[in-house]
Symmetry: C2
Subunit: 332 residues, 2 copies
Amino acid sequence: MRPAAEVPADALVLGVDSGGSGLRAALGPPEGMRAPAPVRSAEPVRTGERGIDAEHFIAQLLPMARELLARVGGGRITAVAIGAAGLATLGDDLRAQLPSALEEALGVRRVALAADAVTAYAGAVGDRPGAVVAAGTGLIAIGTDLTAWRRADGWGHLLGDCGGGAWIGRAGLEAVMRAHDGRDGGSKALLVRAEDLFGPVTGLPGQLYPRTDRPAVLASFAPHVAACAADDPVAEGILRDAARHIAQAAAAVCPAGDTCEVALTGGLFKLGEPLTGPLREELTERLPRAVQVTAAGDPLDGALRIAADIGADRLRLPRDPRMLTVHGEADS
Amino acid sequence: MRPAAEVPADALVLGVDSGGSGLRAALGPPEGMRAPAPVRSAEPVRTGERGIDAEHFIAQLLPMARELLARVGGGRITAVAIGAAGLATLGDDLRAQLPSALEEALGVRRVALAADAVTAYAGAVGDRPGAVVAAGTGLIAIGTDLTAWRRADGWGHLLGDCGGGAWIGRAGLEAVMRAHDGRDGGSKALLVRAEDLFGPVTGLPGQLYPRTDRPAVLASFAPHVAACAADDPVAEGILRDAARHIAQAAAAVCPAGDTCEVALTGGLFKLGEPLTGPLREELTERLPRAVQVTAAGDPLDGALRIAADIGADRLRLPRDPRMLTVHGEADS
């Protein structure tokens, strides 16, 4: 290990989380604790022909960084870490433009660009080997032995995201239509809930298919599946299947070893015991060496942690051309 | 039964099939045999705020009808039957405008408007009680005891269409991504096929999600699932599940009785033995009173048959405000 770099007294680090609902950013001291109030931007960063638009990203981020600095009475940002949804496949423009743009505007040389799954990992597990399942509307699992990353699922609502919010909601609505038709596999309890929410279910196709946010519409039904699980075997079976898919994704990314820390993070797990109960059982069966740990923090915490670690030359998470790049390191 | 109406010597009937790829129309004698060459329109009928656009429909249909009449050296159209996709939910404008427009333009008073599932039924089974599964990219089952219609599925690729082309292709592509990730349930054989077709599968989300014809893209992979089924247990399992869903839909619409004729119609069944083999077994198990019959004809044949039947006052299929309306009947 190289010795830790000297850290100036007024040094600060900047963490950024970029996703479908816009940017969040927070300042922290290099020890990695988050300053109390993160700031948010109103609009998601545009995606164009060259992927995520670096110019639009910078135009939103700089005023946020200046506001954060003003709130703490000034200081100097020594490192920035950005976690962005879609970075692996849509991050070329960010990787090409952001480091020099941030150096020019803020004088910061060390910049990390991470897939949002990587900042989720850093926030949940830190820099130990392990696995994280990050799930909301979608679902992705990511794991590392600190040498390389492994990823499973995260392929979207038609190709996968098995066990995520859209997956559970879609399965619930299929059971609704089965009950309406008198086909096997239907759930009367879910049919009653769907009628309360959407009106006569023959109108559901007309309400769903014209929308551009179909996965979110599907996911909005997931809490109703969870609410019915205690008394309805079809709803219970959907959550059991979801739990199995989640355990399969975790098993695919767990590093070798006698045990493997597994953290669950994201809004999906707010469904609570109807999902997390069967998930504990499925993990015990399919990945007996898993040790379930509570996620320490969220993706913005993870970005701050990575920023602090690159600022102090102590990042242990593995670099990867699409998942995690570090720019302007002391020895680069 | 009322006596059959007298049919003039030069009488002809017009059958029309309207779907996602445009209009097809054919003339026939009132006995119901199709004249050899149907004509097609280039573009699908527009759907607007009032549903399927009657004016656009008429503007396409009239030149087709005149061309057909010219080909047979003239004659008089005494009845028209139109089968249209979406008629049940989007057919108000057609029901309001088409009968008077056709009377004005062609002098025809008897007009039937049918859901495409009804013309599929009439083409496949005729006017006997029974059940039809019509499947291509999507899947719908329809059955009747000649008193009322029963319908199952046909809810689209997110809410159902279980066992149809998009369903099978989607399940196949999920197995592709599972194999890529190293998750349970993956198929190496399907992964190899998908890489041949689409390149590296990490690019699949980018190729699929921006499309507006996602169900068709998914369905395009279904023949590859069928091609792998003989040697690949995952592909075989997908087709077995599809067969079970199809049998469940058929069982939900079969009329009561000692036996029930079940016909399968549509492009899906071109997948052949890898699907129809397990389907025979699933029907035997789930619907032992089913008698599988070969579909006599397609939906355009069914439209011609309904046109001939309303022209001769002998239609036995049940009327239904959304599935099958007949306008200008002798006693109406």
